[in-house]
Amino acid sequence: MSAPALESTAAATRSAARRIDGALITLLIGAAILWFAPTGMGRYGTYVLSLWLVMSIGVMGLNLTLGYAGQSSLAQAGFMGLGAYTTAILTTKWGVSWYAAFGLSGLLTFFVGILLGFPALRVRTHYLAFVTLAFSTLVWLLLRNEQWLTGGAFGIPNIDRPQFFGIKLFGALEFHRFVVAVTLVLSLVLWWLVRSPWGRAFTALRENPVRAASLGVDTRAYTLLAFAIGSAYGGFSGSLFAPLVEFIDPSPFTLSQSLFLLLMVVAGGSGYFFGPFVGALLGVVLPEWLRFAGSLYLIIFATIVLALLIICPQGVSGLIERCWAALGRRFGRKAGGTP
């Protein structure tokens, strides 16, 4: 083969490699593994796996708002609460199907997210965090005090799990597989979004909003969208959480849970696509693994997270990226013989 022909073949291979996205393949393989993962894990193990995925969806939303678009928010648990209660109220009191309730939960939190985004047009960083903190507290008070609607501290029991084309998803394994499917769909949507020009605009908003505006980026619209979409993911997460636990009360949607979700974003790797899965793994599954330590588990958990953030402020995903780059350099040296 002639040199130009070789070059064009190599260019075509490079172009094909660019089209096949590593994140997409990882998502599909991950979903396939998680589909079969609960085999032999029992009901509780399966529940923890499902809870991990449900939390990951909420953390994905916060990662979009904070990690990609750089907008501080301490309100994600509030949005999860709004989603969970909307779904619970609609399905148990009004007989609405879970699918419609899921869509409406997303829609409601999307629009409330837009409203919460307005202060972000005026204030930034920790000032914005305080505004969202007030919102989170407000939602929690609403859930606890408006007993006629939310059941107050008694919560809402007997939340049914949905059916899928006539297949009942009442069992832990069936519902887990349903959660895997929904998580995959929502992850694919977000994957598309962050790869699109919108994703680039969100990054620009995070890195330099003044410069972004001078290049025609409508920073107002993208700020509101970052809040709205991130909040909708919180709503979707809550909408799956309600049928997963089958009983909800205000306690999982407190301000401390918002802080915990923020910790998951940071520990997993803020602004990394798979950061939320890693962060939620640390936040949901690690405490389960540490149960052998009894009452010491929270201390061990906090120590691990602290150590992680000191070693790698960019979270586990940042650490993995650094290791990968180091391996690549080493491999490159061996293969090519050049530094």
Binding site: S196, P197, W198, R200, A201, E207, S214, L215, A221
Partner: protein
């Protein structure tokens, strides 16, 4: 024919300090206008007022005869006005190519269309062209934050031209750039001006750069226009020599 840009009696005060104090000038189609003056004379404030980054206290800004005073920077950009900043303003976490695509993408179709459209918003070829034009070919995939200062300056300038603007305001494009790159930059700006008919307003302290690039120069001092004319006229003006150029 109305000028591309017309600034009339522009004022900007910060408390008691009048940073811009009644500046008026206009820029003709295809012209390269230089704005010079000592540090703190209000050059960058003037740019920021024209471009909507700061709200002027008084006065008006017209683009092609249309009043654009206090218009948002993103809207002005979509009307074909682009800029660079005094301090470097690239997006460090994005690659050189991504920086360039970002600089042009908001001019491609509607917002919703961009979400469902091509990932590169159809700008890969244009970005490639700019990368070649500004001699950044070997750095296309490198993160902008890892580039040298001069290379980032070139990228910054390249970004300002991605959307094919008709008016570009460059704030100290030569600051901190070495002599070789400075020559490259000047050559690129001249070529874009000649080939695309783009109009420039350039703030600069490097006198050789301004005098050899611009067809007309305005001198600012203490927020006011001190002198205006061709580079030769300005260089010979005693008031300018006294206030800025020195003997």
């Amino acid at each position: 024919m109305s000028p591309v840009l017309e600034v009339q009696d522009l004022h900007k005060a910060f408390g008691g300090i009048k940073a811009v104090n009644g500046v008026s000038f206009s820029v003709r189609e295809g012209e390269i206008l230089g704005i010079i003056g000592p540090n703190g004379c209000g050059k960058s404030t003037l740019f920021n007022c024209i471009l909507g980054q700061l709200e002027p206290t008084e006065g008006s800004v017209k683009l092609d005869g249309r009043d654009v005073t206090r218009m948002r920077p993103s809207d002005l950009n979509r009307l074909g006005v682009s800029r660079t900043f005094q301090l470097l303003q690239v997006f460090p976490e994005l690659s050189v190519r991504e920086n360039l695509i970002l600089a042009g993408q908001e001019h491609q179709g509607s917002m919703l269309g961009r979400l469902f459209g091509a990932r590169d918003a159809g700008l890969s070829d244009k970005a490639e062209q700019m990368i070649g034009f500004f001699k950044l070919g070997h750095l296309a995939e490198a993160k902008a934050g890892g580039l040298s200062y001069g290379q980032q300056k070139l990228l910054d300038a390249a970004m300002a031209f991605m959307a094919g603007p008709r008016l570009v305001l460059l704030d100290e494009p030569a600051g901190g750039v070495n002599l070789t790159m400075l020559g490259d930059l000047k050559e690129r700006l001249r070529a874009i001006n000649a080939e695309q008919g783009a109009t420039f307003v350039v703030i600069e302290h490097n006198m050789d750069f301004v005098m050899s690039l611009c067809s007309r120069v305005i001198v600012l001092a203490e927020g006011k226009v001190l002198a205006e004319g061709t580079p030769a006229e300005v260089r010979a003006d005693p008031a300018v020599i006294e206030a800025y150029l020195g003997h």
